[in-house]
């Protein structure tokens, strides 16, 4: 009878890992290119509400962000616990919104201005009074396209 069992070497050959850095670098470049660093440092609490009838907000360069919510822990001392608006990196007053919109428009190319959208990132515990004031200012500044930024999920979770 023929013998099928070949002579096996007693130890496993080492796996060639010389291509590993190449693979890792490939992944690295992908993430480097895809990364978007956070533009603004949040000074407020910003737990967004849930909604499921959402539309994607792509073209990040055509979006202006307005944040609102209670000041976060370390700003409570100086700014209190009342909900505030944050534009760029600073707390702002309602009256500063129009100025903010105009300066944002100024920084964009003229043909893109009609496509600008204002994203309202508002904490879910904020009172509607503040949001209404923001919307009123946006109407005055004729920035009518808005988007209530939300997390995706069942709307009933907002009541928990």
């Amino acid at each position: 009878m023929a013998k099928f069992n070949k002579k096996k070497s007693s130890e496993l050959p080492a796996i060639n890992t010389s291509a590993l850095p190449d693979i890792v670098f490939m992944l690295l470049f992908f993430f480097m290119v895809a990364t978007v660093m956070r533009e603004n440092t949040l000074k407020i609490q910003n737990v967004l509400p849930y909604a499921d009838q959402v539309e994607k907000l792509d073209k990040k360069d055509l979006v202006m962000y307005i944040y609102a919510g209670k000041p976060s822990e370390r700003y409570r001392q100086s700014f209190g616990t009342e909900a505030r608006i944050q534009l760029n990196d600073n707390f702002a007053d309602v009256s500063e919104i129009q100025q903010f919109i105009y300066s944002e428009r100024e920084s964009k190319r003229e043909e893109l201005v009609p496509f600008l959208t204002t994203a309202l990132k508002v904490d879910h515990e904020t009172n509607m009074g503040l949001v209404s004031d923001i919307k009123m200012e946006l109407r005055k500044a004729e920035a009518l396209k808005i988007n209530y930024t939300t997390r995706t999920g069942e709307a009933s979770q907002n009541f928990d």
Binding site: T35, G129, V131
Partner: protein, 202 residues
């Protein structure tokens, strides 16, 4: 001097360094784009303009009070029932003659809306209402419109309204885009989003 061959650079730790960078970028990456409910604000109006008269039965009133309670047409309602109630109102089609609605499937109640083009949803909220509640209500109302649009789109063009919009925004879509746009407009005109927001009461 004896010529020695240059020793090979040890590249064994290269992978470690690359991994370190990789993990850093993995952690800091936020790939997902923001998403949310898109709305259009009404432009500022002159004081002199007289608001158009709307029949009481064509108005669907949704009130959210300061305790985040929902009052629909003067009755207390749970959020989970709001979407069906809004759909029933929009889809009612109680009009007769020129105001009849031939694509409505509702009850045809003469005390409810005439047709979807006339039907207005009025949302009133208090200044103390929580934003989360407001978004939940908005979400349900937009959801009602979306479901009705879907139904019509499915019946007329054999695909959902979302699919039509996605196709329209897709650069690789091979079909006729102009026709698609017309179809989208058609569905939109059949179910216009007439969502009016009153200034909050104190």
């Amino acid at each position: 001097m004896a010529r020695r061959s240059t020793p090979e650079v040890n590249a064994g730790s290269l992978a470690d360094i690359a991994f370190l960078l990789l993990i850093f970028f993995l952690v800091t990456t936020t790939i997902e784009t923001d998403s949310g409910i898109s709305r259009k604000l009404p432009p500022m109006q002159d004081e002199e303009v007289v608001p158009p008269v709307i029949k009481e039965k064509n108005i669907f009133q949704v009130i959210v009070n300061r305790n985040n309670d929902l009052l629909v047409e003067d009755e207390l309602m749970e959020l989970s029932e709001l979407r069906e109630a809004a759909k029933a109102f929009l889809d009612n089609g109680g009009g007769v003659g020129p105001e009849a609605c031939d694509y409505c499937e509702g009850a045809g109640d003469p005390t409810s809306s005439d047709n979807p083009v006339k039907a207005v949803i009025m949302l009133v909220n208090d200044r103390q209402t929580e934003y989360g509640t407001y978004i939940a209500v908005q979400n349900e109302l937009v959801g009602a419109y979306n479901e009705l649009r879907d139904r019509t789109a499915q019946r007329m063009f054999g695909k959902s309204f979302q699919q039509m919009e996605a196709d329209f925004n897709d650069v690789r879509y091979t079909g006729n885009k102009d026709r698609l746009k017309e179809q989208i407009e058609q569905v939109r005109d059949m179910w216009p989003q007439k969502l009016s927001e009153a200034d909050p009461k104190n």
